[in-house]
Symmetry: C2
Subunit: 144 residues, 2 copies
Amino acid sequence: MTSTKKMVVEWKGNLRLEAKNEKGLTIQFDAPKEHGGEETALSPMENVLAILATCSSFHVLTILKKKRLNVTVYSVEAVAERREDPPPRVFTKIHLKYIVEGTNITLEAVESAIKLSEEKYCSVGGMLQKAVPITSSFEILKEG
Amino acid sequence: MTSTKKMVVEWKGNLRLEAKNEKGLTIQFDAPKEHGGEETALSPMENVLAILATCSSFHVLTILKKKRLNVTVYSVEAVAERREDPPPRVFTKIHLKYIVEGTNITLEAVESAIKLSEEKYCSVGGMLQKAVPITSSFEILKEG
């Protein structure tokens, strides 16, 4: 069973581009100043880390909610090492650190949610892990 | 030679998340309604297509500019087929269609710029092509 997804990316001058989905939602991109851009928006490679962390978080948050755990604060720090030479300037490793805070959060629940997300559900990770090693860790800030 | 890149993704309620780079630039994400989101922003998988097309465009536009070609209108349509079942719901193929308009644009210049970008310079494509077959085509709307 498959579906189709379409995006249109339009040039807005220099290295600024705007992407639009089929419902009209848009997002802006720009390049870093050292590569000729004006830094008015995030770069594509910064977005690689952002979408990997976000995609995995969709599933982690959904699983924790289904377990009736009360997450109050949640974030992910994504850090990557990037090869600068020779091109393409790909990431050579990525680490995600999940930080979860809540009133009844347990280590086992967070660990299992992250494992399920990363190994089974996260689509972005399912693709990216074929190109770059991805590791993760987590921290629970407060336990109820 | 390597560099490091860091992004922080923060949960903003339900399935809304905000990613921030080290300079403070931010981007919003949300999930489609059929997956529990509110569609206030693009989804991570829509962004996969957006950043692939944008990354490649950075190099295509830069190469065409270096060749002193006068591009006036430029866009890319990115279409992907997505496996819906079993998870992860990865893309199984991606096609990019570049559309270039300008006053002195030649078929050879566009073809060579796309080839260089896709085969040598585009970092996002350099990673994604290890996970999914990517094809491309192009159209020149007006020749000078």
